[in-house]
Symmetry: none
Subunit: 547 residues, 2 copies
């Protein structure tokens, strides 16, 4: 186990540049379609992480990408627009697709172009010379506009294997036209590490400088990370990749894996510097989870470095050795990437971890307090039932408060009923109406409230919202406290299987003070699960603000 | 794109052996606990696939593993029991842990032992010489019983870096005592490919024959596959791994990735033979899905070779080139691993992708047909409303069929009502009851059905399931077709924001023929959205199977 590379910053270290394409190639992932707001949020996180380039999308290709560049966030990282080299048969200045890319006004522009003769002939249907001229003219045009230019040499490795001199001549055409970076793309993801190393070595031997070369890999054989590092070993100085390995087909090289390896593992940590700081690295797990959250994906438990299981020691022999010395079964310290060790809940390490979490919620419990063990048992038992407290800190806090006797009984729900009905309306349109009745006891008072909403209004007319509205009507004395609450997100997952299948609902709420908190409910019935999460959300707000 | 390696079977090819440890190291995955029946099912699938060794577990360590060996399936593969070298301070014959392993009666026995001085001293607390003697005696004992013996040299790479001569002397002790295989384990998963290659090369140079060496890697830096192949490049002839990369922490080397690379990719396909036949390889996707099914995991969409997205071409430029020639964006033929090409719909797709996608669904539309443009417009319009068709191919197909006039009117839903009620039951417990009423018209017949379920039964008692059950009751003439349908996953996402927020529900269904399909529904009301996805799921099944 070693400390991070920045501790050795020295004059002998070479600079490696990280180019993130989560917002462009990452958006080619099946099922992924970012909104403009999501792209902005991801761009800000990437900037905080410390990547050097953020490829934001293809301006002009679709409204979302155009909107993103129209209001791109200010970043330290170089904002980059993606496009393609000009088409044959018109000048660079008259290519409207290229013009739209330049119109985004980014400091850097990355253009993909062909470098594989088979693709020039088969896909483009032009001559080899016409393609090379299109590359040269495109980069001359981009650099004349004062932009930093990058050439994504599509299918470079396959092209090199088929016709090495043509592939290299395409690189040279871009280089001589002023491109800052020539990015060798393993577009189909079929190249293996030894081959990447050999071809990069040969390219550099032919006079293309390594510090002008980048690498862009795909994971079709599970080698995107290994190929990227093999290219660095052979001399390239820019790595392209995405958070969580999003991307076309099997995904791009996973920067969430590559970054900690570069910063923490030899020979990279002594040899190279990047723009990622220790603080950026500690935020890596949070960044990875943020992306999954935006995509409503279950985070990959076994992901290197940032997976929930990445430092989980299940084997009994491993767990007992870990307690003697963590280096026995850990190759790096999990805290460096914002992760933590997971060992059986019942032991001492589990309890100190729990005390830290409670302290974060303002609850101090002395070490060795037997209630700590009971809380851990309860968490384990409920996680077996399908609860997930990692993503629902507010519900975890309420569970602990309940066990510690530190949770006031604000109100009791005696019963509820929610009805969703879809039918033809008087005007023969189809209308759906949700109605909720909630009966609540506050002190000695029993209060009954009803709320409804219909699909012909603009409001959320679902059953959970109807319940939430009916509940909000009932809480007379606490009304002022919950008035500024909003339900902002709602995630549902089926867990377990067969007859044990249950629904887990996670609700994100926020209030007028800008606080955001998450609560969880589990039930075989999605409405019950939602109601439980809703009750926790209100109760947490009351704990924080009542009286 | 190349044909498989078996086509070149020749006398120059060397044999590589595949050792599967899904049932042993795979069971160290957080959250994984196989039953005996599941282990038997997996063992049979591994045998059909063509691995050489199946490590079934640790006899004596837990009841499941003992039960598995007591009734282990007959396999062509060599069934292997796992255990550890004898403890210091007793003879091999008197070690009860080792005796339990031998008592399983398997033809092969794999014993893990220490080869890293730090672990000998820190974890075992014995001398280096005592540990080496324990290795020698253990293997002499196992081979004297007529068993094939394998030595898992734990922490070999870390041990070699710390004390190379001691690490190699442990290998030699096992070799001289008759072990058939010496398996170099990167137990903590922190070694990188170049280091694996160098150390294996040095070990062989010290006189340990490569055809007696195996490799066992973990994925903590995302290099388990690359490390395994680097070891093969350097001379080892056995690879240990698991299906889908199950295993402790980040998992073991993924055989689901390694096997196709060995059989389909150069230099491996010309250089090595394995026990996997073309038919075994074509069953790989099915084997991978079977394991996910047993674990109730959502299959990893982006897994190399076997992921649902592994041959999905989302970018418009890629999709149009693929139509001209699949090798433009595919490094191998998906059919060789039992997978298939996917050209998903999204706002980046053009008419040619659309025609291909329709053709896959059995719908032929001539190029230039104006209805193609209308379908694309409709897809775009609905994606703006929150629909996501590239994760819901079945709904896309229905949308297209509707527009093309190729969708029979199976039935019409006139109205529905679903009620969820939570109240105290007679026995003072809290009970939640869901009730659904659905009124459907089939031909001239109007049918009304009701279904309910309560939280005090073991069934899914949510509103969507109640609706699904009521709907299924109504479809009299189509009953036989939908009887084998199951709702297997249910994903909910809030999209848009503020007053434009809508709920998107994606439902995955499967049937008795092993088909799995996804449908989407969007509404401000989650019940309406679910109902829409549910209707699509049933309609798609009727399109495929009715009449």
């Amino acid at each position: 186990m070693v400390g991070p590379g920045w501790a050795r910053t020295g004059s002998n270290m070479e600079r490696l540049y990280l180019f993130d394409t989560t917002l462009r190639d990452g958006q080619q992932t099946q099922g992924v379609q970012f909104s403009t707001a999501e792209k902005q949020r991801i761009a800000r996180a990437l900037d905080d992480l410390g990547v050097d380039y953020i490829e934001g999308g293809w301006p002009g290709a679709n409204p979302t990408d155009s909107d993103f560049f129209a209001a791109a966030p200010q970043t330290r990282a170089t904002m980059t627009a993606f496009g393609m080299t000009k088409r044959v048969g018109r000048s660079a200045a008259n290519d409207d697709v290229l013009a739209a890319v330049l119109d985004a006004g980014t400091p850097a522009v990355c253009l993909v172009g062909k470098s594989h003769e088979f693709h020039v002939v088969t896909a483009l249907g032009v001559t080899l010379e016409e393609n090379r001229e299109a590359i040269a003219e495109s980069f001359a045009h981009v650099t004349a506009k004062g932009r930093e230019a990058l050439f994504d040499a599509e299918h470079f490795f396959d092209g090199y294997k088929s016709n090495p001199s043509y592939a290299v001549s395409c690189l040279r055409a871009a280089l001589e036209a002023g491109a800052r970076w020539l990015v060798l793309c393993d577009t189909n993801g079929g190249t293996l590490p030894a081959e990447v190393h050999r071809i990069v070595t040969e390219v550099i031997a032919q006079g293309i400088p390594g510090d002008r070369l980048g690498i862009h890999c795909h994971d079709d054989t599970g080698h995107a990370v290994a190929n990227s590092l093999a290219a660095v070993d052979a001399g390239v100085r820019q790595i392209q990749g995405t958070l969580n390995g999003l991307g076309e087909r099997c995904g791009n090289a996973n920067l969430t894996t590559i970054i900690p390896t570069l910063l923490l593992k030899e020979p990279y940590r002594s040899r190279y510097q990047t723009g990622v700081s220790p603080e950026g690295l500690r935020g890596l797990l949070r960044d990875s989870r943020m992306l999954d959250d935006i995509l409503n994906r279950v985070p990959a438990r076994q992901a290197p470095y940032v997976g929930a299981s990445a430092f989980a020691h299940k084997a009994g022999l491993h767990a007992s050795a870990i307690l003697k010395n963590p280096t026995t079964y850990e190759h790096v310290d999990p805290a460096l990437v914002g992760n933590e060790r997971v060992i059986p809940m019942s032991n001492q390490a589990g309890q100190s971890n729990l005390r830290t979490r409670l302290a974060q919620a303002g609850i101090e419990v002395p070490p060795g307090d037997p209630r700590l063990g009971r809380i851990l048992d309860l968490v384990k038992e409920r996680e077996d039932q399908g609860y997930a407290y990692d993503g629902a800190q507010a519900s975890f806090e309420l569970l602990a408060r309940r066990e510690l006797g530190a949770l006031p009984a604000f109100f009791e729900v005696l019963r509820y009923r929610v009805t969703v009905e879809r039918r033809k309306s008087a005007s023969q349109g189809i209308v759906t109406i949700s109605e909720a009745v909630v009966v609540v006891k506050i002190g000695d008072q029993v209060m009954m409230s009803v709320s409804d909403s219909a699909s012909d209004t603009k409001d959320d007319n679902g059953p959970v919202n109807a319940l939430s509205k009916a509940l909000a009507k009932d809480l007379g004395p606490y009304q002022a406290v919950i008035d500024d609450m909003n339900l902002v997100d709602f995630k549902v997952r089926i867990t377990g299987d067969g007859t044990d299948a249950v629904t887990r609902v996670i609700i994100d709420s926020e209030d007028g003070q800008g606080r955001r908190w998450s609560t969880v409910g589990v039930s075989a019935n999605i409405v019950d699960a939602s109601f439980e999460a809703l009750l926790d959300a209100i109760t947490w707000k009351l704990v924080r603000d009542a009286r």
